[in-house]
């Protein structure tokens, strides 16, 4: 799996589907440095997004749910690729998120951990106790000023005290979360398997509002101003949607149907566009304000991750190619 292409300065950081983490020159595609994680054990994937600090880039690795697979959190020095520290785990398929001097991640085993950013030492771990027989994807956590919010495989949303790992509150909704959590203005957003979107008070977990939608929300959520963008999927009919929803969940602003369903992790916001990719190599751009189709690109393979920086758009394709496009300056 490709992690989301992440640009810092001149470097584009991306983890490939074949077990190598790259720093590429963003304008030329030349390799600045790379690191093959397979030399550290049975691991090949980068399912989560990296964390960028002043001098480091942190990324989690895994080998899906293979019984003897392993994972790590790597802290690479951004300029050289030198490993500052690495923390071995069973799997690290989530984003690495930061709160102050600590970082946080989850595993396929629904075990959530906190490490010291400085040393990679373990602060605490928390397990929901749920099993993962189907090897379901683990949803990325989010943090606010003092808490870590997670969607457990037990269908419960937890707020954990970031320093101790103790449960501050937990909330079980009528159906299990089907999207990652998103946090905006002290409000948690999440889509659920019963085709609904919820807003929860981040302080208490109380439901503020909810909205029924036409299909199951999937992937990750994206915000722009007071709009929330997400993918919906009707797997039985092989149909997907990209939708814009009012951030108070008062209603759907626009909706665009697609077949096949979108395969990229989330609607990617770039300039005035919302961008999505599918497994037939198609990338579509929609005007964020009204959903009007703007332009299409045709690549080869299944588009899993999309990133951007300035006028450049990057896409990682499951078959192993990283594409870089540039939007010409307009007259």
């Amino acid at each position: 799996m490709f992690s989301t292409p992440t640009v810092v300065g001149d470097a584009l950081f991306i983890g490939s589907c074949a077990g190598t983490f790259y720093a590429l020159n963003r304008t030329t595609g030349q390799v600045q440095w790379s690191y093959d994680i397979r030399k550290d054990g049975k691991q090949v994937s980068f399912h989560g997004d990296p964390l960028v600090t002043d001098d480091l880039i942190l990324i989690g690795t895994d080998h899906s749910c293979v019984p003897d697979g392993i994972g790590h959190v790597y802290a690479f020095e951004r300029d050289s690729g030198k490993v500052r520290w690495k923390y071995r785990a069973i799997s690290v398929p989530t984003d690495i998120v930061r709160l102050g001097s600590n970082v946080y991640f989850g595993s396929f085993q629904d075990k959530w951990s906190s490490l010291s950013l400085q040393t990679g030492g373990l602060n605490w771990s928390f397990s929901t106790g749920a099993t993962n027989e189907n090897c379901d994807a683990i949803k990325a956590p989010v943090t606010d000023k003092n808490r870590l919010f997670i969607a457990g495989l037990d269908g419960v949303i937890y707020a954990l005290d970031a320093l101790s790992g103790r449960v501050t509150w937990k909330r079980k909704l009528p159906a299990a979360p089907s999207t990652s959590l998103a946090l905006k203005d002290k409000t948690i957003y999440v889509g659920t398997n019963d085709q609904r979107i919820y807003r929860l008070n981040a302080e208490t977990g109380a439901v503020i509002s909810e909205l029924a939608v036409d299909a199951k929300p999937v992937g990750r959520l994206a915000f722009a101003n007071d709009s929330l963008f997400m993918f919906l999927e009707n797997a039985s009919e092989r149909v997907g949607y990209i939708v814009s929803v009012d951030s108070k969940l008062a209603g759907v602003r626009w909706k665009q149907r697609s077949s096949p369903a979108w395969a990229s992790e989330r609607p990617h916001l770039w300039k005035e566009f919302v961008i999505a990719g599918n497994c037939r190599g198609g990338i579509g751009a929609f005007r964020a304000t009204d959903g009007e189709p703007q332009w299409n690109l045709s690549l080869k393979g299944c588009i899993r991750s999309i990133g951007s920086s300035g006028n450049m758009l990057f896409a990682g394709v499951q078959e192993g190619t990283i594409y870089a496009y540039e939007l010409s300056a307009r007259p």
Partner: protein, 47 residues
């Protein structure tokens, strides 16, 4: 008798043209409204 096949052919042609127009109309509806970005480079990282 020979006029009928021509008449039928004309109807078929008109029907095909109508269908063709409908397809063109759909295609126009899907045409990009703005110029998209251009490929600058690609890197084969291996699948």
């Amino acid at each position: 008798m020979k006029k009928y096949p021509r008449f039928i052919s004309a109807i078929v042609l008109v029907a095909m043209a109508a269908l063709s127009c409908a397809q063109n109309s759909d295609t126009r509806a899907n045409l990009p409204a703005a110029a998209g970005p251009e490929l600058r480079w690609k890197y084969e990282a291996g699948g």
